[in-house]
């Protein structure tokens, strides 16, 4: 088998593999256009290699004429995506240059297909067979250059200028690594191809065209850089996930702490009643004139208060258990009522006026019940905190549920201090997290946001005219869930 065929086919195969790889990356991260562009470049480089092989081995003038046209198209398809790759990759590069290059090349392509002998030649007189240094013969055309080829030469020079400029700027912007690998990689191989090809055309260097290898090198450079970035971003993602998990745990611990305080206070009441009742009964029994009925009443009260205490503990347990979240269909109104049961004592003690409005026929939502209750709990605790400031005179808190065709909505409004302007609009974002926040308020909201988004819902916060804040979240309702 001929060395030419083997070498150029391998080059094409390598380009194809990289093209497919980039295409896969693009499908995975479709928001990242660089993968699409690098993939296009690689596909075109594959085509170019195969076409070049055809040019080197054909002996028919007609075939040569057709192939060189397509080869020019392949080069166009390599260079233009590459230019835009650079444009996106180094965002500081000059856009007008990229546009000019694209335009020039497009005109070049037009000429390529209307002129009889492609953009490269105006006529091809004959095909000569020259020996390569390993002895194999390859085809070289002899003819007159198309004057329009100047267009391609100019845009090649522009590409050099463009990539050079982009590299330089990126270097100055402290992206030395990227600038070095991508910028100088592309520059080096374009210069190589740009020098080598005219020399072959002019018959000075007696080797086949080797444009394909230069392009393979360029595509490989791009791949190297993109792959190492993908790896790095994956590592970041893992780290981010770890941070999130950690935050989740902290938020949960925070919530647990807060709930425990509330529960401890609530537990004190039945415990006080139990202790005093028991001690009263003992005192009564010591007296001679003890009434049996009175002792029975006391014991009944003790039993009732004990049950009351265990209910309080049960509520806390079901609210904060750390078990695997199960997605289930449930009535949001009921879930909210349960959460409120836990807080009502606290609200009463803080003299908070609570109003509840539940829409009667709510469709069921499909989500993690406990998680949604945690969201409600978080939002209610925040609201309670914001109205418990001494400067707030009317302590009002309202919770309302409503539904439209697609979603159930929960609104929690308070008459408190409202959202500080510096946090408005960024309340739910991780980067706005104020770690120093004394009660982990920011953290709780980020977790709320995550939970709601997990179930395809959305959450928002706004200040209310006349004071206070409104937090609302919505959860989607899937068709056929009405009961």
């Amino acid at each position: 088998m001929s060395t030419l065929t083997v070498a150029w086919s391998m080059c094409a195969a390598a380009c194809l593999m990289l093209a497919l790889l980039h295409m896969l990356l693009w499908l995975k991260y479709s928001q990242n256009t660089v993968y699409l562009l690098s993939s296009l470049t690689a596909f075109a480089a594959c085509a170019s290699a195969l076409l070049e092989l055809g040019l080197l081995t054909t002996q028919s003038l007609e075939t040569y004429r057709q192939l060189i046209r397509w080869e020019n198209l392949a080069i166009f398809m390599i260079l233009v995506p590459m230019v835009w790759f650079v444009q996106i990759y180094f965002s500081s590069s000059r856009r007008w240059l990229a546009l000019t290059i694209t335009l020039l090349w497009s005109v070049g392509m037009l000429i390529n297909f209307v002129s009889p002998y492609s953009l490269t030649f105006s006529t091809i007189a004959e095909l000569k067979q020259l020996p390569a240094f390993w002895g194999e013969l390859f085809t070289v055309p002899a003819g007159t250059e198309n004057p329009w080829k100047l267009l391609a030469d100019i845009s090649s020079l522009l590409i050099l200028a463009y990539v050079g400029d982009a590299t330089f700027r990126s270097w100055r912007h402290n992206n030395q690594r990227e600038a070095l690998i991508i910028g100088s990689g592309i520059l080096l191989f374009i210069i190589f191809a740009g020098i080598h090809t005219p020399l072959v055309d002019a018959g000075i260097v007696h080797t086949p065209y080797m444009i394909s290898f230069a392009f393979l090198a360029i595509v490989a450079t791009m791949s190297y850089q993109l792959a190492s970035e993908a790896m790095r971003s994956q590592r970041y993602e893992r780290e981010l996930q770890q941070t999130r998990r950690h935050l989740d745990q902290m938020a949960r611990a925070n919530l647990l702490g807060e709930c425990t305080t509330i529960i401890a206070h609530e537990l004190n009441q039945p415990l006080t009643a139990i202790l005093s009742n028991a001690q009263a009964a003992r005192r009564q029994l010591v007296l001679d004139s003890v009434e049996k009925q009175s002792i029975i009443e006391i014991l009944d009260d003790i039993v009732r208060d004990d049950k009351r205490a265990s209910e309080i503990i049960q509520r806390l347990r079901s609210m904060l258990q750390n078990k695997q979240v199960v997605r289930e269909h449930f009535d949001i109104n009921e879930a909210i009522r349960e959460t409120l049961d836990m807080l009502k004592g606290e609200f009463k003690a803080r003299s908070i006026d609570l109003s509840e409005h539940y829409e009667a026929s709510m469709p069921e939502v499909y989500a993690g019940r406990i998680e949604i209750q945690q969201v409600v709990l978080n939002l209610l605790l925040n609201a309670a905190r914001s109205v418990s400031v001494p400067s707030i005179e009317t302590r009002m808190l309202s919770i309302r549920t409503r539904n439209d065709q697609n979603a159930v909505h929960v609104d929690i409004q308070d008459s408190g201090t409202g959202i500080a302007s510096e946090f408005e609009g960024s309340l739910f974002k991780l980067n706005s997290l104020h770690y120093e926040s004394k009660d982990g308020l920011g953290m709780g909201l980020i977790i709320c946001h995550r939970i709601i988004e997990t179930y395809g819902g959305h959450i928002r916060a706004e200040n209310v005219a006349g004071g206070g804040a409104l937090f609302s979240f919505a959860l989607p309702v899937y068709a056929g869930q009405f009961r």
């Binding site: 401890a264 206070h265 004190n268 009441q269 039945p270 415990l271 006080t272 009643a273 139990i274 202790l275 005093s276 009742n277 001690q279 009263a280 009964a281 005192r283 009564q284 007296l287 006391i298 009260d301 009732r304 208060d305 009351r308 009463k348 003690a349 803080r350 003299s351």
Partner: protein
């Protein structure tokens, strides 16, 4: 050492329980009643304030966190009205700053729920004996005032000089009357005030507001 209450005082004393939890109120009422105390329970500070101001021997067992007026608010309110009824705080939220603040404002004790009967009854005893002291003082003062009210304006004038340490001769000079008349007034004052010496008159007068002339 806590002064022990005499039996009659304890019987007449009243313990007001103010807690928004009715079960707690009921249990505390039972405990205190079984200990021989008279109690009255209220579910809010406002309910208690609706009651006629109580001026007998008594004390408050007061929760802090309640709907409406809080326990500490009630204490401040009573202080502002010179109501001297002793306050025992009984709360589930026994945080130190609140406790210190309450004690500074004159609370007898700051107890946390659930409370043991020994601690509670000890605090109640202390509160009631302090209430009794205040009450005794008050009734003695009222007694002195009643005696003073029987004096004529002239006798009152003479008394003011006596308390100021003036001799009969000086008083006669100041008032432009005869020394014998002053002596007669003095006799009437000692009788009406039920005192055996000028020193005792002076001590009695120190319990009330009296202008002292020198």
């Amino acid at each position: 050492m806590t002064k022990r209450l005499d039996h009659t005082a304890k019987a007449g004393a009243r313990v007001f329980i103010i807690d928004d939890d009715e079960h707690v109120c009921k249990a505390l009422t039972r405990l205190l009643t079984a200990s021989g105390l008279t109690t009255e329970a209220f579910h809010s500070a406002d309910d208690y304030l609706r009651l006629e101001p109580f001026d007998g021997i008594g004390c408050l067992i007061l929760d802090i966190r309640m709907p409406g007026m809080s326990g500490t608010d009630l204490q401040t309110h009573l202080n502002a009205r010179n109501n001297s009824i002793p306050v025992i705080f009984l709360t589930g939220h026994g945080d130190l700053p609140t406790g210190i603040e309450a004690m500074k404002r004159g609370a007898v004790d700051f107890l946390t729920k659930p409370v043991d009967e020994i601690a509670l009854l000890d605090a109640v005893n202390r509160a009631l004996s302090s209430s009794q002291t205040v009450h005794d003082e008050k009734s003695r003062r009222a007694d002195v005032q009643a005696r003073l009210d029987t004096l004529t304006p002239r006798e009152l004038e003479v008394l003011e000089y006596i308390v100021g340490g003036a001799r009969n001769k000086q008083i006669a000079l100041y008032l432009g009357i005869h020394e014998k008349t002053v002596k007669a007034h003095r006799g009437a004052i000692m009788r009406k005030m039920d005192a055996s010496s000028p020193a005792e008159v002076g001590w009695l007068c120190s319990l009330v507001n009296l202008t002292i002339r020198k």
